[in-house]
Amino acid sequence: MNKRLPSTVFFTRLASVITTLFGISIFVFIVLRVIPGDSITGSLGIETGALTPEQIESLRAYYGIDKSLFGQYFSWMGSFLTGDFGFAYSNGVSVLELTKSALPVTIQLALFGTIFGVILGISVGMFSASKPGSVRDFAGQFFGLLALAVPGFVLATTLVTVMANVFGYFPNGFEYMSPWEDPWMNFQQMMFPSLVLGIAVAAPVMRTTRSALLETVDKDFIRTAHGKGVKHRVVQFKHVLRNSLIPIVTMTGIQFGYLLGGAVITEKIFAMPGMGRQILDAINKREYATVQSSVMIFAIMFVLINLITDIIYRRIDPRIK
């Protein structure tokens, strides 16, 4: 690439990223301590009341919450930075092990959902924008609004109910299979949750696409393209869509980031052992290390996606330096 990031820009970016991540780490640390209950009540529930003070004290030491807040934070941060994400007591494995199995599920789900959603969203958006104010525009916009209005859990439970009861087909009822163990089963299990997530992604992508296209189509250079005798279809893709990509890519990046954060409800309904489920279980059990480290992993991924989006901007628009 001939355009290189000027070093000042690079360092400003780096500084803001580090500040953001630092802020997130403090925020999640504090929130976890503010909500009622701790690791002991999280694992023992009401039986905690039967414990003697000595037992509680030793359990606090076991979970590492006997230290001061500063001590806890720095001990977690210190180990997190050296690649030790902590220990998930209830699962009996390290958070790293847990994440290793959950993260690929979430990434695959997010990828499938985003790809499906972007293809659907851009198609419907182009369909809508091709004739603003027409019946097809109305139909496209109605789809966008519907997809935005129907919550994922409604769509997900409806799908599960209909597929399982009417067709007797529900691949997610079986044990989860990774694509390396059983690609075909994995694909079937990914299909429905990806569909649900994809529709949620498609709605904002469609709306962004439509408005970006409508804005671009009135630009002078589109008239130039038609004036050159370029075929209508080519103008639509090569000139109009190409020049509308920046907001579409932005929206796609944001949506993909959300999905990577774990589609908690969708993963739960379709019994996908992804990050959403991991973090939800960890919150319920007050597994501080698991929650904190998982959130940090999300945050880092989100930052990475923003970085990738920025690189894509530069590829799309040569004016962005």
Binding site: F221, A225, G229, V234, R242
Partner: protein, 322 residues
């Protein structure tokens, strides 16, 4: 006179939603090799007239009556594929603002290649032709220009690229919509000289749209003066400039600053502003601003008529006694 290259008859352009007439019954011809200038203020309908020839009217505006005959076809009623095959190939256009007329995310070379590919398909020597076209219009480093993006070029250079693009397939008619308005004065002269040179070389017809009478004086053979959506005067450049018949044309010429004027007299101006074309109705659109207007002007629409030098749409021509 040989048969015209293009013949516009009673072209009427209106808005789609509330049917306001923007261009009203405009008729003119362009002969092969002839250069015609269309002069008028903003809103006189000159640009819409030009865009109609290529079917490039903006959204919400359409040609509602008339015909544009070219090569045995009516461009207003032909199918879109025929129109497309003519655009950029037989009739090409250069636009007012070179800063916005080029696709910002495409390399300049690719934007010209596209013209060739749209009309001739894949062509082995396309790159070579584009480089030649760049050097023909005076772009210093064609190879670099080929790889450049529009934002890396100045306005004058971009307009040269637009001209190279328009001339690439040697069109029969070049439509120029105020191509110098957005440029610095020194650059304007260069662009005018370039277009004149290329036109002579190719014996190409030209339709030059401008609000600046001074620009067309040296550039075209015939002048069409438009006012509030209608043609008010047509004639050879010499006749229109030396012996204007329509009071509006006369007023326009009188308002040109003269370099020879040593007395520092006040610049003449026409009082008032042009009316919106759709509000005029059956009257002379200029009557409200005209010193020669009478009741007839305010109630009857004057049509173009022959007179001593030009054709003018006026009941009280400048050459006639009042």
């Amino acid at each position: 006179m040989s048969s015209p290259l293009i013949k516009v008859s009673n072209l009427t352009v209106s808005t789609s939603d509330d049917n306001r007439t923007l261009v009203n019954s405009v008729s003119f011809e362009i002969a092969p090799g002839e250069a015609v200038g269309v002069v008028g203020e903003s809103g006189s309908g000159k640009t819409l007239t030009a865009l109609s020839l290529l079917g490039l009217l903006p959204r919400g505006v359409q040609a509602t009556a008339g015909s544009i005959s070219y090569d045995g076809k009516d461009l207003l009623h032909t199918d879109s594929e025929t129109l497309r095959s003519i655009r950029g190939n037989k009739i090409a256009m250069i636009y007012q603002d070179p800063m916005t007329a080029l696709n910002p995310v495409m390399r300049l070379g690719a934007q010209l290649i596209e013209v060739i590919e749209s009309h001739e398909g894949q062509s082995g020597d396309a790159t070579e032709r584009v480089l030649t076209a760049f050097s023909d219009v005076g772009i210093p480093d064609p190879k670099r220009a080929y790889e450049s993006y529009p934002h890396e070029f100045s306005g004058g250079m971009r307009q040269r690229v637009m001209i190279a693009m328009a001339l690439l397939l040697s069109p029969e008619l070049l439509i120029a919509d105020e191509p110098t308005t957005a440029l610095d004065v020194t650059i304007q002269q260069q662009i005018l000289a370039l277009v004149m040179h290329e036109r002579r070389k190719r014996n190409m017809s030209m339709l030059w749209i401008t609000h600046d009478l001074g620009v067309v004086a040296n550039l075209v053979d015939r002048v069409i003066v438009m006012y509030a959506g209608r043609i008010v005067e047509v004639g050879s450049v010499k006749d229109v400039f030396t012996n204007p018949q329509h009071p509006y044309t006369a007023g326009l010429l009188a308002s040109l600053p003269k370099a020879s004027d040593k007395n520092r007299t006040r610049l003449v101006s026409i009082p008032g502003i042009p009316p919106k074309p759709w509000t005029v109705g059956e009257s002379c659109a200029f009557s409200a601003r005209c010193t020669r207007a009478d009741d007839q002007c305010r109630t009857t629409l004057p049509l173009l008529r022959e007179n001593s030098s030009t054709q003018a749409a006026c009941f009280h021509l400048m050459g006639e006694k009042r």
